[in-house]
């Protein structure tokens, strides 16, 4: 196990590049998710406002 982690003396290089790769994918996974949630809450608010407006008008 230690041998595996040491990567023949290149541990910093190998593991840091893998960390960058995983971090990139993680950001790529989360960014649209957050955007989707923001858009839906925004639309939800707009819908509620519209409903209120029509209720007060009638």
């Amino acid at each position: 196990m230690n041998d595996f982690l040491a990567m023949g003396g290149y541990a910093t290089y190998v593991w840091s590049s893998y960390a960058i790769f995983v971090a990139g994918l993680l950001i790529d996974y989360l960014a649209p998710r957050w955007r989707n949630r923001r858009i839906i809450t925004e639309l939800h608010g707009r819908l509620a406002r519209q409903k209120k407006k029509t209720e007060t008008a009638t």
């Binding site: 023949g8 290149y10 290089y13 840091s16 990139g24 994918l25 858009i39 839906i40």
Partner: protein
Amino acid sequence: MNTLSLWFHKFGSPPTFYRLSRLLCPWLFAAACLIGAVGLYAGLVLAPADYQQSDAYRIIFIHVPCAWMSLFAYIFMAANAFIAVVWRIKISEILAMASAPVGAMFTAVTLLTGAIWGKPMWGTWWTWDARLTSELVLLFLYLGVIGLFSAIEDRRQAARAAGFLALIGIVNVPIVHFSVNWWNTLHQGSTVRLLGPSRIDASMLWPLLLMALATHIWFFASVLARSRSSVLEQESGKEWVREIVQAQGVRRE
């Protein structure tokens, strides 16, 4: 031809696209993670150490798939941009603009991991080699497309303008590669090669191909996830969006 165009219009209609992508997205992400995990296990544990580079070569299993993806994403973006500029199909505009950030991410990862790999192997973080320079220019092109897209107010016009820029860029990249190659021979710079002249061994090749497959699937999953929210945003006035928003809102409360 008729069935094809019919299928295209059906898939291209925003509600169908939204439902289909919501169905596909989790499966694609899961498949990418699974194949990627197998590939990484094979690359990190099963594949033997290189006789020249020892274990440092294992960066290849992420660096090379990301480099392939940076080009593939650009071609995908440009193809969609072409459809968007010529036939003005809404889904193509959205797909082209959704693939730009993913491609930029893969390009940035390629550059960073390449620098990290270069340090122990060539003794330097960066050389002005043709591949590295054209990859850097590719990143600038991606950033230009994203910047232009976010700078224009009207979403559809922004997508068409940025798509046009992507089409100009696809002419630029080979020219940059060629010109830097010529410039390098003038300066007689150190000729570095990422993959040596020796052919890659089969025990290292199949994890590499698995990783390439995983990144391709990931790319499509991410593009679908991104275009899904763009569809929702652009179609915000429509009835089907209202239904979806109400359904989701009820679920959260």
